[in-house]
């Protein structure tokens, strides 16, 4: 009898000890978890480079324009063609398809206004200048700014003028003209006066500023992880779907611990907003894509960048562009850290949709293969199959 009692007592003691060291979290882990919660997201700062950023009329016009297929060469492509409202403002395709197929994956838009740099390579430095780029890209909307200016005047004239003031005289402006694009459009652009070109550019810019005003309202919804984090921070027991399973908790601990995910996927949007080479393999049948290193010259040359004449407000807002990192091997094949909110339900992954599943993504980070050019920042991490599965299970709590 005493022997059985003793064995029971010993097991009870060990179980108690095990429970003490079990899931729950150290103070450092709690602080990290709190830093990832959506409640830690600060209010959006005003965008002084766009004086219409918080103008409800501009946002409403921007919303109309976002869904307007007429803002394209052949009337078939709107922003929402790839940024689908019912699909987290992305399209589930490895490569976006507008008028033609592009070389990059469509990015989702929740929280997009918190970015300092736009696109996978950061080749634009404001939400409004970003919105202009696909409009003239021959593979996306494939239109031209003179045609857009005429369309705005004809279709939205009064509404536009109520927000932005009087339209310029467009009567002598060619139907199609842009400094980019086809030779005939370039020639038409060159034939215009400086004042005509500036007038068209201002309408074009205001299209971007209106769309940006609309996009500032696109925020990520709270998830199971956020409800869990809130309970943890307040010291209450998580209830209902805020309860994370043992596997999800293990995944969370790995995410903020040994797997080092939180190094780059930090803050409430799970991104550092910066650019990294993480050894993602190139997509098959695409030209070489060198990422950030090739975007630097492009954003510096962009006439719509923060230091250009179309910015509202003062140059104090242009710190990111003024102090842009221009050189270094680490910019080669560096792409922006994407947010992980909602990622579990929007495969495929990476800048050209190279990976079909989260399991493949996790494997790439942990195995840290060499980069085809330059050097990956990743170091290999040894995780068991169960631990890898736990990481994936945790990532799913960011999308429910």
């Amino acid at each position: 009898m005493t022997r059985i009692a003793a064995v029971c007592l010993a097991f009870a003691l060990m179980a108690t000890l095990a429970a003490c060291g079990k899931p729950q979290f150290s103070d450092a882990e709690k602080a990290t978890i709190a830093s990832l919660a959506l409640s830690a997201l600060p209010l959006l700062e005003p965008d002084t480079t766009n004086r219409f950023a918080d103008d409800p009329g501009a946002a409403a016009l921007g919303s109309t324009l976002f869904f307007d297929q007429k803002l394209s060469r052949d009337g078939t492509v709107s922003c929402s063609t790839c940024h689908k409202i019912e699909r987290q403002f992305q399209d589930d395709l490895p490569l976006a398809v507008g008028v033609g197929r592009t070389n990059r994956r469509t990015m989702p838009l929740a929280g997009v206004a918190y970015n300092a740099w736009f696109f996978w390579d950061g080749r634009r430095d404001s939400l409004w200048s970003q919105a202009l780029t696909p409009l003239e890209n021959p593979l996306e909307h494939a239109g031209n700014r003179a045609a857009y200016a005429h369309y705005i005047e004809a279709r939205f004239g009064e509404r536009y003028e109520r927000i932005f003031g009087p339209l310029p005289d467009l009567s002598a402006v060619p139907a199609n003209a842009t400094p980019l694009g086809a030779d005939v459009e370039k020639a038409a652009w060159a034939s215009m006066t400086d004042s005509q070109r500036d007038g068209v550019n201002r309408i074009f810019v205001n299209i971007g500023k209106a769309i940006a005003a609309f996009e500032r309202s696109l925020m990520p919804p709270p998830t199971r992880f956020d409800r869990f984090a809130e309970a943890l921070a307040s010291g209450t027991e998580p209830q209902g779907d805020a309860i994370l399973s043992d596997e999800e908790v293990q995944g969370l601990k790995l995410f903020i611990g040994r797997a080092n995910c939180v190094t780059c996927h930090n803050g409430p949007l799970f991104t550092d907003g910066s650019f990294h080479n993480v050894g993602v393999p190139p997509a098959a049948n695409l030209p070489p894509d060198r990422g950030r290193i090739d975007a630097v010259a492009e954003v510096e040359a962009d006439p719509f960048n923060c230091l250009g004449p179309y910015r509202d407000g003062g140059p104090d807002a242009c710190g990111e562009l003024r102090f842009i990192r221009k050189t270094g091997e680490e910019l080669v094949r560096a792409f922006k850290t994407p947010s992980l909110r909602g990622a579990a339900t929007r495969p495929p992954y990476m800048h050209a949709g190279q990976f079909a599943t989260l399991e493949q993504v996790v494997a790439n980070y942990l195995d840290a293969p060499a980069s085809v050019e330059s050097t990956t920042e990743q170091h290999p991490v040894q995780l068991s199959e169960r631990e890898r599965a736990a990481l994936v299970a945790f990532l799913k709590t960011l999308g429910e």
Partner: protein, 148 residues
Amino acid sequence: MASLGRYLLAAFGLAAVLLGVLAAVYVSGFGRHDAASDISRSRKTANGLFMVSIEPEKGAVRQGELHTWLVTVTTAAGQPVEYAAIDVSGGMPEHNHGLPTSPQVTDYLGNGHYRIEGMKFTMRGWWQLRLSISAAAGSDTAIFNLAL
């Protein structure tokens, strides 16, 4: 009763071993990089030419935001170093990458004080800030460790 004592002893022994292992892992994790342990914001340059102090201009440094730092350069004897050329670089030694921005000295404020704009730290962890200083006395470098 003797066997109960033995079992208890075994259980405690096991617990002690586990705790020891955990403690070793914990301690080794914290002692990982001695180079990063000196986080003083005032130091001599490598060859002793200058004394350099740094501080963020507006108190706390927030991850992911651009901010400015103030740098004070004096000679080893404590004389302010005027109109030095200061090159700013750095990065995260553990992640094979430099600074995410290219900070620059944008202003000489007099009396050996300089302003650096465009500093940004995108991650938590061990950062290094390297200031290469050239002035009449010569050129020298100071490396600061920053723990974010």
